[in-house]
Amino acid sequence: MTLSPLTSMLSGTMMASSDIPAATIAPEMAWLGWALALPAISALVCTLMALGKVKGKLPGWLTVASLGTCFVLIFKAYQSMPEGPVVIPLAEWMSFSWGPTDFHSLQAALELYIDRLTIFWMLFVTGLGTLIALYATEYMEHDVKAGYARFFAGVSIFLFAMTALVMGGNLLLLYLGWEGVGLASYMLIGYFFTRPSAVAAAKKAFIVNRIGDLGLALGIFLTWRCYGTIEYSELFQVTANAPREGPWEESLIPYLLMLGAFGKSAQGPLYVWLPDAMEGPTPVSALIHAATMVTAGVFLIARCYPLFLLQPDALTVVAWIGGLTAFWAATIGMAQYDMKRVWAYSTISQLGYMFLGLGLGTTFGACFHTFTHAFFKACLFLTAGAVMHGFAGQLDIRRLSGLSRVPGFRMVSWFALLGGLWLAAFPFSAAFFSKDEILVAGVGSDRADFQFLGWLGLLTAGLTAYYTFRVWFRAFAGPVHFEPGDEVHGDDHGHDVAHDHGDGHGHAPAAAHAHHHGEFHPHGPRWAMKFAIAIIGIGAVLAGYPAYESMFLHKENWVQWMISGSTAVGGAGVVEHVAAEGASHGHQVLGMSAHAATSLAGSIFGIGGILIALYLHLIRRSAADSLRRAIQATPIIGWIPNAAEHKWYVDEIYHAVFRVPLWVTGHVLHFIDKHILDAGVVDGIGASPSLVGRVFRPLYGGVLQSYAVTMAGGVGLILAWLAYTWLRGGF
């Protein structure tokens, strides 16, 4: 293994000490604003179509077209990318100033901040978004008569929000996109709004995200308060010159931003929404997990890295949370039976790696892993979706087996294998290099805690390889056996109705209906889904190209090049401090260079995990059950399998710790409100005028004189008071 290119690559991290160049204003690039406008237009048109009850696939193709155009625009921007960051003003938005001589001001124009990080992110966001939308045009076809337009309106909003989030030129636009992504995810997760579990999942995602969003909002407020601006172009110039010891509020900023990132990227205690988010249609899961929503947190920290660098302790927290989440989610993933659920936990786990990388100071590793992960995770979800589509919603790996030999699913199986290998970080896969970048920063660190996190990450890589191939060997390999899903679980599509319309291509209706008569014929995906899966699979392979290139052609890693010169590498002259800690390439681990050791250990862990899975889940499947029984029989650790299957009871604990007290408080307050405040105070206040009125009603019989009595009495009293005041020498 040639390690020198990898090592030389790392020098890029050291380059990071250079300040972020000042942004140039480039109004001539305003055409890039269409990248923001097209998904918005698409969302609008799809909404109108949904309202107008448009039948047919028009909304889907419209969304695909607009997202594809977006990708083309971004690619064009990539080709003509200027050296330094560029600010593209699009429109006036918010501009306030107040105080003496307009001392305070809040500026947030509708503008784009384009540097290489932006382009890098947008490339895979729009690219994958387009392919997933294409996949969804076929996947959602059975809903053509129901929510097809609504679905694509949600997807468009999703992409619009993500575009605003990534390309926006200030934190306010980022926040707009942030909330937009949350809203779109709510709409899409709750797409099957007649199903209580989907509604609950949507609410859960939204509410958990609110906690993070609160942190982000507070972080933005404090940023404005401490640095006086929320425009990136100014903010990073200010922070580059910021004193090391700012006011105490300043030290809160990274922690608050971090909270936002944790919420959106399902890290630490806020991860619980993501596994449930698969209640949405599978393309939505792919969108959320791979390309858009969850990477927003990574992007936020990468974008605001200079703010984090001012508080190195914050990065340590990020590293710990990331590392622990990666391990935690992997342990849960090992015990799940639902394919999508396993992939969901693997997403949390992989996101944990990304945050670990950010915390360890290797933004390059984190971004590289985001990039590779986006492809292979999209690939895994789309193949899972294809299985779900074909088997009436069946995803339980205990009820599916040998799918690679089922006609129509061969290609799906092999691409699932590809995704699995990448997820397992099989040696020389793209994810192997990207994960390696992160782990080497930990293992090779001078700090013991970072070293621990690095080794934990390696262990987690082994677990990942195991659970990934547990799924693959169970579902796609082995003897052919499958049971169709029930409609309740299957949900994504109603075979009984949807396929009656005889669209003239694909399976015959009779075959689709067969399972009602005791025989089930799964139907494989058609061209749109296959095409999307194939492109994404190839993309996953190609995602490793930068690493091969740097290794074999001794060129600078393309991702490295994309990250350098952006905010992600810092810019406050303190980068060496952290970066050096994270990636001291001279450090020796186990008698070799850190890189060699990590690569070797990662390979061993990964292949070991795969081999264990091979034995337990393909060669001798009964062994897995007997192992499980054996563990359950062991006194001290007997509880582990059940607990892992039940996700360590986190949801139940949250339920008991947060939901139940809130529920009880809510009911107590409701009781107080209803019976004391409403019935007592409000109604009492309301009743008192009527009581008083009842006393005085006889005075107001409509007879003129009764009014006159009141009036004259009032005059008399006022006069008496005036006379009294005057006589006492008042006035």
Binding site: Y700, G701, G702, V703, L704, Q705, Y707, A708, V709, A712
Partner: protein, 107 residues
């Protein structure tokens, strides 16, 4: 109580009578139910006001009080003309002078 000259006593007496007439007038206005008598009571109140004006005019050696009383007479005459016209109108409507017959104001 301070000692009073004859003029001061006279003025005070006139003022007290004025207050008495006014108060009796208002008491009558509030309690009588015959519309015509109610108007008579307003005339009583006018009387009180006019008397007070004249007494104060005397007290300040000023003729404005008397001039203003002339205006009061004028207004009283005008008011009598209009008010009694209205009373007749109302009487034609309900065939009664009872002020309580007109209680539409309660709605």
């Amino acid at each position: 109580m301070t000692a009073l000259t004859s003029d001061a006593a006279l003025i005070r007496l006139a003022l007290v009578i004025a207050a008495l007439l006014f108060s009796i007038g208002i008491a009558g206005f509030l309690s009588r139910r015959n519309m015509i008598v109610m108007f008579l009571c307003t005339e009583l109140m006018f009387q009180g006001a006019a008397l007070a004006l004249i007494a104060f005019g005397k007290m300040h050696g000023d003729l404005s009080g008397q001039v203003f009383t002339i205006f009061i007479l004028t207004v009283a005459a005008a008011e009598a003309a209009l008010a009694l016209g209205l009373v007749i109108l109302l009487y034609r409507r309900r065939e009664t002078l009872n002020s309580e017959a007109w209680s539409e104001l309660k709605e």
